[in-house]
């Protein structure tokens, strides 16, 4: 009650709610301020303002800095703290914990008289039973007494702890956000302003860009990453920046720097407006991921699918898939074609099966049964098209199993092999024909060969018979003939006187006939031997053979008074005894047909040379020959007989004029043939003859 009295006593202490009441009830006499009655006017006025203000206010008064405050200030002191004891207390007793902060401010105000201003200042105070960080915006202003001297410090303050804490939280969340960007598992960055300055970009983004932090950080995006300029991204960014509408890009192709070159990459990305708290757009948040590998892989898959389709098309393979549970069947157009359908129609498995040739049903069923055992299907069967025609098909497939290992699907191909089958049949038929033909040819050849062999054997037999005939001729025929001659000469020697003139003439004729027969036999023998004798070529000096022949015919030359001349003859590979016979026959021939009217002269010349050296078209060009010529000055012959004279038994003169069997030159021809050579005769009646021989040297 006493307190209320005080209130009435002092008008300046009226009102002020709880603090007004406390201030009125306080026994100020026990403080250095003393009883309110003694308070100066400036204090009274200030207290009045404080207690009646709704703004938090505090007052330090006097040397001891006695504390006053109002209801508005009270919450700042908390519930379990300084209130209400601090009222009238000394600052150093109650603000111990902050004296080091406020004392300099208070002193400054008291000495200079100037007010202070502090905003969001952290001044931790003890309240609510503990030290708390409390933020204040406050002003200390001097309260001057009547003499104009500052006697107190008037504090107006507002606690800004709530605002500061909110700001701090905001800052922390921003940091967290930035940190999140840094550590995000996708490429992220924030582009600030209309120039899209790279404010932050995580490593994944730098990696995607192919840049270092120094290249791009805090630079406009298209300055730090000029490679991307003009690829359409600037327009997108501007769009998002101006409209605020999020843009999502999928598998967008972009050329990015890699190892000094531009490589095509594919990215999925989001451009989202980065908004300030007031909703204005200040930048772009970019989230991107490199999907190059997926895109390339998918492209490869697409390509190989396309290739497969080409192959399937080219191979004329139809494809099908049979669901073994539902019996649903999927098939390609080509598949339908094999079944005879040009139009794309939907057929059930049963409808398709109805095309199977009834006789081939078993084949197909067996193949399917086998497929369920082995996993793969293969069979050939006939199909009956709707038009009744029969076609061949080849089916291949693979069984796919479900998780429990039960057959689930059959996937396969089908191919029309009608043409193949037809070709195969044609081929088989033509092969069969060929085999028959070849068999019959073979038989024919065997038959002909047998015939030839028989003929050969027959010929050999005849040849042998001829040889034995020649042998018989030489001995068994010659012997009795010679006997006739011997006996006849004996008779002529001993009994000539007893014979009549006619008898003598007849006897003479008989002897001539016998001599002719002897010559004939000898020549025939010689001719046949030329056929059959062993032909052994020996490298022979022709001069040696020539001299032997010359010697054999020495007497004949002497009798005829003929001359035989030759140059030095070459050495040549010949059958020696045959070549001797050849020279013998040729020279004998010339000798026989010598002209009695003049001195007979036979010249033999030999030379080697290539075919073109000799004016003889029948020779083989480029081949080397030995040319032997024999020239005589005998009776000659008409050129038209130049071939005929080499034939057996061909004679140009009567027997009475020139003896001979007509075999000699035939033997010559035969020997030349045996030497693979050529002989030509040139004759002029009454002037002589020339025989040209060309024997190849190899």
């Amino acid at each position: 009650m006493q307190k209320e009295q005080t209130t009435t006593e002092f008008q300046f202490l009226s009102g002020g709610g709880e603090m007004g009441k406390l201030t009125r009830q306080k026994d100020w006499s026990k403080t250095s301020v003393g009883d309110p009655s003694g308070w100066p006017q400036s204090l009274r006025t200030t207290i009045s303002i404080i207690l009646n203000s709704k703004f938090p206010m505090f007052l330090f008064w006097g040397q001891e800095l006695v504390c006053f405050y109002n209801d508005a200030y009270r919450p700042s002191l908390g519930n379990d703290g300084k209130h209400p004891h601090i009222l009238g207390g000394r600052a150093e007793d109650y603000w111990q914990e902050i004296m080091h902060i406020i004392r300099p401010l208070i002193d400054k105000v008291l000495t200079t008289g100037d007010a202070t201003w502090s905003e969001d200042q952290l001044i931790p105070i003890y309240r609510n039973g503990k030290m708390e960080d409390v933020y204040w915006t406050f002003s200390y202003s001097p309260v001057k007494d009547e003499s104009g001297k500052p006697r107190g410090v008037f504090v107006t303050c507002t606690e800004t702890t709530g605002k500061v804490t909110a700001l701090k939280t905001l800052e922390e969340s921003t940091n967290r956000f930035l940190n999140n960007i840094k550590q995000a598992p996708v490429a992220m960055c924030v582009l600030r302003g209309k120039d899209f300055v790279v404010e932050i970009a995580n490593n994944m983004m730098l990696e995607l860009w192919g840049k270092t932090s120094d290249d791009v950080m805090n630079k406009p995006l298209f300055v730090g990453l000029p490679e991307v300029k003009g690829q359409g991204f600037d327009e997108l960014l501007i769009g998002v920046f101006t409209t605020g509408v999020k843009y999502e890009g999928t598998e967008r192709s972009v050329g990015l720097p890699r190892n000094g070159k531009i490589e095509e990459k594919f990215v999925n990305f989001i451009y989202d407006a980065y908004r300030e708290s007031d909703g204005t757009i200040s930048g772009i948040l970019v989230i991107a991921s490199d999907v190059t590998e997926q895109v390339l892989t998918r492209r490869k898959i697409e390509e190989s699918e396309a290739r497969l389709n080409i192959v399937l098309d080219a191979s004329e393979l139809g494809t099908w898939e049979l669901n073994l549970r539902t019996r649903d069947v999927l098939y390609s157009k080509r598949y339908l074609k094999v079944f005879g359908y040009d139009q794309d129609v939907k057929l059930t498995h049963e409808q398709l099966l109805s095309h199977l040739h009834p006789d081939d049903r078993e084949i197909r069923d067996a193949a399917f049964a086998e497929a369920f055992k082995t996993g793969s299907l293969f069979y050939e069967s006939r199909l009956v098209w709707s038009d009744g025609t029969i076609h061949y098909m080849e089916g291949k497939g693979k069984v796919f199993y479900d998780a429990e290992g039960k057959p689930e699907r059959l996937v396969g191909t089908i191919r029309d092999i009608t043409d193949l089958k037809n070709h195969q049949r044609e081929l088989e038929e033509s092969e069969k024909k060929f085999r028959e033909l070849s068999n019959s040819l073979e038989n024919l050849v065997v038959e002909r060969t047998t015939q030839l062999e028989e003929k050969n054997a027959e010929l050999e037999k005849i040849n042998r018979e001829l040889q034995s005939f020649a042998y018989i001729s030489s001995h068994d025929l010659q012997e009795p003939l010679r006997k006739i001659q011997t006996f006849s000469t004996r008779i002529m020697e001993k009994e000539e006187a007893n014979l009549s003139a006619e008898g003598k003439d007849s006897f003479q004729r008989m002897q001539n006939a016998a001599r002719r027969m002897q010559t004939l036999i000898e020549d025939l023998l010689s001719y046949s031997r030329t056929n059959s004798s062993e032909r052994k070529f020996v490298y022979t000096d022709l001069n040696k053979i020539f001299n032997e022949v010359k010697e054999d015919l020495k007497e004949e030359f002497h009798n005829k008074k003929a001359v035989l001349e030759s140059n030095v003859l070459p050495t040549l590979s010949v059958i020696p005894f045959q070549f001797r016979q050849l020279l013998y026959n040729l020279i004998s021939n010339s000798l026989k047909f010598s002209d009695a009217k003049r001195l007979s002269k036979i010249i033999v010349m030999g030379e080697l040379g290539l075919a073109n050296k000799f004016n003889e078209p029948a020779l083989i060009s480029g081949k080397e020959y030995c040319h032997i010529s024999l020239t005589d000055n005998g009776i000659g012959f008409e050129q038209q007989y130049s071939e005929k004279i080499f034939e057996v038994f061909q004679r140009l003169h009567g027997r009475s004029e020139y003896k001979g069997t007509g075999i000699g030159l035939a033997i010559v021809k035969k020997i030349v043939d045996n030497h693979h050579g050529l002989i030509k005769a040139h004759g002029k009646v009454d002037q002589g003859a020339t025989f040209d021989l060309y024997i190849p040297t190899s």
Partner: protein, 148 residues
Amino acid sequence: MRKIINNLILADDDDEDSTFFQIALDELFYSAKLKVVRNGVQLMDLLSSTSASSYDILFLDLNLPIKSGLECLEEIRQNQNLKNLIVVIFSTFFNIEYVQTLYEKGATYYIQKPGDFSKFKKVIQKALVNSAKIDNLQPGREDFILKP
């Protein structure tokens, strides 16, 4: 050096030729002894006897029964005991190649039996005369064939 040709052998299966040969020798007034054999085996038997070396000249027909004249010639020329025996081929048969073979086998002379008997005599005489004159068993190839 002149040899004395005294002991002759004629190897010939032909009786008439043997007769002709003897007549020829007689008419040529040769007193030489003629031994006639009918085949090659007889000839070789004779030549392997102790008296073999006493024969001076052999007139050898080629067409001999049992063993041919060529076979006999080969055996004779391989036999050292007969190194002085003159062998005159005396055959109806004439063939240059065969004549060459005979020369190479070591025959001394070759005579083709002439039909004319006077030539028959003459060629035998030539053989006997030449054989007496010849120093060795073979003349040059050019003198190998004897003609009447």
